[in-house]
């Protein structure tokens, strides 16, 4: 019986692909956000609002990830941005090679901001690097306010959390103070935005933060280092 050393990261293949993607996106002058969260938290609604506010100014494109259907990509196109749908046909998360293949079909002309809307899931997407610059997790007031405690890895790996559906607070027993406490316990640096996609409250602060991320990122001439 022989034993050989391998010494390779389990997700080395994904990470190598993600690293190439990151380089490619930066070379093309794009800032990329990986949007994660529970199914139904409002990821697509948040993107619709963001496209409507920032699309003309920054040029926004979206890669949509779902197990089936192109419903979300159609919504984004209706909102006024280019979108490419990935159907994972069973995989509960996006991987770098899926994003690479989608990018090959997506026209990124005059685009500075790319969103990747991950498959709705508070567990698995945290493990896979997609070459993004920033990760955002979306939760809503119609879920439990203990989500960050129950799914800590997702909140620990993100740079921001969006709490959506503030307009429904009068009708649910949800404590925003509690969810923020749990979220900051696993990630003291987490930026938190409280919004309602339906009423528009809080969206200005979110859009301003995204605008700042894009405009303060190191800029590269397209095609040149």
């Amino acid at each position: 019986m022989a034993k050989v050393t391998i010494a390779r990261n389990i997700l080395a293949a994904n990470d190598a692909c993600a690293s190439e993607l990151h380089e490619y996106l930066r070379l093309h002058g794009l800032y990329t956000l990986n949007l994660m969260g529970t199914p139904g938290a409002g990821k697509t609604s948040l993107l619709e609002c963001t496209v409507q506010s920032l699309g003309a100014e920054l040029g926004v494109a979206v890669i949509e990830g779902d197990i089936e259907t192109s419903v979300d990509a159609e919504r984004i196109e209706q909102a006024g941005a280019r979108a490419m749908q990935i159907n994972t046909r069973g995989a509960c998360h996006l991987e770098a090679h899926m994003v690479r293949d989608a990018l090959a079909e997506l026209d990124l002309t005059a685009t500075r901001l790319l969103f990747i809307e991950n498959v709705g899931n508070l567990v698995c997407p945290a493990e896979w690097d997609l070459g993004e610059d920033c990760r955002v997790v979306v939760v809503s007031t119609t879920e439990g306010d203990d989500k960050p405690a129950k799914y800590p890895q997702m909140f620990a790996c993100a740079q921001a959390m969006v709490l959506n559906k503030l307009d429904l607070l009068p009708y649910v027993s949800y404590d925003p103070t509690r969810v923020k406490h749990y979220a900051l316990a696993v990630n003291p640096r987490l930026r938190i935005f409280e919004i309602s996609c339906r009423t528009g409250v809080g969206l200005d602060a979110w859009c301003q933060w995204v605008r700042t991320l894009v405009t303060s990122a190191p800029t590269l001439e397209r095609g040149l280092l």
Partner: protein, 119 residues
Amino acid sequence: MHEFAIAQSIFEVVCEQAIAYHAARIQTVNLRIGEAHGIVLDSLAFSFEMLASTEPVLAGAHLSVEMVPYRAYCQHCANDFNVLNFVVQCPVCHLWSEEIVSGTEFQICAMEFEAAPFD
């Protein structure tokens, strides 16, 4: 939930290594996994064994996993502590630490195999 996809990554690397080392049969794949990854070992083992059964050189192969505890260092107390529930907060002074000591490992360390006989 994602243990199957992780098992698939391990399977692909091991298949590639089996060819490189002219293995006749892989017996054990040694992994080092930090607790910060939240991997369910039973699910990972089940997924890997299912994949291994599809490849003759991996028939009967199993995973041997060293789990690494999730620990951080508190600069104020100059002491390591166990990270519980992903809250990287020192149990003594209650300040948050940004220095992870262990627990994020995610490695295929080695494989044990029977070599194919020389022709």
